[in-house]
C-alpha cells in the first residue's frame, strides 16, 4: 500500500463476491493504515450474512493489535442481520479513518445501500475485491457482471479493483501472476484502476521480484481453520 495513498478518502470499503477475500484484505489494510499513520483506524464488520470466518471472531486479537473494531452488538453466533452501532456516524464523520468489510454477493452487500446514499462521492474509496479462481469471477465478463450486480444493490460506484488471486495455502507464484493479468484486463475494460495485488507474505516478495512495477500488498492471514489453530 502506498503511503498516503488515501489521504483524501478516509473511508475505504471492500466489497465483492463471496469468498473473494474481503475480510483478510480489510484486516490487513486497516492494520497497515494504522501502522503508517499512527492514527485511530476503525475496522467495521459489516458482514451480516456469513455465519463464520468473520471479523467479530477475531475482535480481541485485532484490538490488541491497535485497531478499533466495530461489530454487531449481539452474540457472535447470531443469525440476525443487525447493523453494528456507530456505523452511520463513522461513515458520515469526515475525520474518522474507517475500513469496512462488507458482506459478499448482492445479498451481503445490500446493507450498504441505505447508508451509501448519504455518503459524498469524494469521501470514500470502494474497492472491488476479485479472486479470479472463484467460480463466478473466472473471466473478464464474469468480473464485470459481478461488479454490476453489486453496484446496483450497494448504490456505490467502485473506485478501483483489488486483485486477490489465490487458491488457498498452496497458491503458487504462477497462480498469482496469471490471476493478476486477468484482473488487470478486467480493470482496463471497466476503466478502473487496479489499486493493488494481494499475495500472502512470503509469496508477495516473489511477486514483487518478478513484476517490480506492481503494487503488491502482502497479506498476513488471520482466519484459520480449526485444525490449524
Amino acid at each position: 500500500m502506498r503511503k498516503g495513498g488515501h489521504s483524501s478518502a478516509r473511508k475505504v470499503i471492500f466489497f465483492g463476491p463471496y469468498g473473494s477475500g474481503k475480510t483478510e484484505v480489510s484486516i490487513n489494510y486497516a492494520l497497515a493504515w494504522r501502522s503508517w499513520s499512527q492514527r485511530q483506524v476503525w475496522l467495521v464488520d459489516l458482514d451480516l450474512v456469513t455465519p463464520f470466518f468473520r471479523i467479530r471472531e477475531l475482535r480481541r486479537r485485532l484490538e490488541a493489535l491497535g485497531l478499533s473494531v466495530v461489530v454487531p452488538e449481539l452474540d457472535a453466533a447470531s443469525e440476525l442481520p443487525v447493523i453494528p452501532p456507530r456505523v452511520t456516524t463513522l461513515l458520515l464523520d469526515p475525520a474518522s479513518a474507517v475500513v469496512v468489510d462488507l458482506g459478499g454477493d448482492p445479498t451481503g452487500a445490500r446493507v450498504l445501500g441505505s447508508l451509501a446514499a448519504r455518503m459524498r462521492g469524494d469521501t470514500y474509496q470502494a474497492y472491488f475485491v476479485v479472486n479470479n479462481y472463484r467460480p463466478f469471477t473466472a473471466t473478464v465478463e464474469g468480473i464485470a457482471d459481478c461488479l454490476r450486480r453489486l453496484e446496483q444493490v450497494t448504490r456505490l460506484a467502485a473506485t478501483g479493483l483489488v486483485a486477490n488471486p489465490h487458491l488457498g495455502p498452496d497458491t503458487t507464484l504462477g497462480d498469482v501472476l496469471r490471476g493478476q493479468e486477468l484482473i488487470q484486463r478486467a480493470a482496463a475494460q471497466l476503466r478502473l484502476p487496479l489499486v493493488f495485488t494481494c499475495a500472502r507474505k512470503g509469496l508477495a516478495d516473489q511477486v514483487k521480484a518478478y513484476r517490480p512495477e506492481l503494487e503488491v500488498f502482502p497479506l498476513d492471514l488471520y482466519i484459520g481453520m480449526p485444525w490449524r489453530r
Partner: protein
Amino acid sequence: MGERILMKGNEAIGEAAIRAGCRYFFGYPITPQNEIPEYLSRRLPEVGGVFLQAESEVAAINMVYGAAGAGARVMTSSSSPGISLKQEGLSYLAGAELPCVVVNIIRGGPGLGGIQPAQSDYFQATRGGGHGDYRTPVFGPASIQEMVELVMEAFEVADRYRNPVMVVGDGILGQMMEPVVLPDPKPLDSLPAKPWATTGNQGRPPNVINSLFLDANLCSRHNEHLQEKYREICRREVRYELVDPEGAEIYFVAYGTTSRVVRSVMNRAREEGIITGLIRPITLWPFPQEPFERVVERAKAFLCVEMSAGQMVEDVRLAVNGRRPVHFYGRTGGVVPSPAEIADALRKVLEGRDPGA
C-alpha cells in the same frame, strides 16, 4: 478435467449436483447451508433446470418425491432442524424406493440449537430418522474435493438402489474454501434408464409410485425386498480411509471435519514420537467393519472423536465388539474440538485413563 478453482463446500455441493445430472432442486433456507440453494438458484436456470424455494421443508421433500417419481435426478438440502422436518418424506421416499440426494449441513442441536458446526445428527442419518424399517446410505466427506466426488457418487448410488442417499457435513465444510478440480459433467443421455418411473404410460401398463401396502403379507414382502437391498448396499458400498502407519497402537476413529482436526493432532504427536492410526468412515452407513478387523489385533485401544455427545462411538463399539477398549472424546453444541483438547485426550488414553472423564 478442468483447472483448479477455489470453492466453498456449499457451492461445491451445488456444482457437483449439476455435473451429476441433477436438474431439480427444492428447498427452504436455513443457515449454515444457504449457499447451496443460492448457488443453485443462479446455476440451475443456466443449464435448463428448475430451482424452487418451497414454502417449507415438508413441501420441499414432497416435491423431491414427485420429481424422483418422474425419474429425474433431484436434490434437496437443509440443516438439522430442517432435516427433522423432512423425515416423514424421507421415509415415504425410502418406502416407494425413490432415488434422491439429501444434504444435511449439520448444526448444533437439539431443537433450534445454534448455527455452529456439529455432528450430532449421526443417529438420525444412519438409523433412518423417519418411521419404519429403512436405511439410507450416508456419505461424510472431509474435504471440498471429496465433497464434490461424493455428491456425484451419491446420485449414482441413489439410482443404483432406488433409494435416498444422504450427504452430511457441517458449517465448516460448508463455508470453508479449498481448491477443487471439477470432474466433467455427466452427459444427460448417459444417466441410467428408469423404466419404473411415472413418465406417461403410452405403450405400456401404468407405473405406480407408492408406499402403501394395506395387506400385511404384501407389506412384509415389500420389507423383505427392502432388507435384501440394504444387505446388498452393505456388501458393496462401504467406503473408508485407513491411515495405518507402522508402529501405531492407538487408532483414532473420526469422520468429516473432526477427522481433519485429528490429522493435525496425529502429525504433532508423531513429532513427539507417538505414532497413531486413523479409521475414517466415508460411508457412515453402511459403517465400515473391515478396517477394524485389519487393525484390531495390534491395536491397543481406539479413540473416537466426534462433534457430538457420542453417537458414532456406538458403531465403533459394535465393530470392536469388546476386543479392545473404545474411548470417546467429543464436544457438543457447535464447538469444534481443538487440536490441544484431542491431544490431551490421546495422552489420557496412552496413560490408560478415560479421556471423557
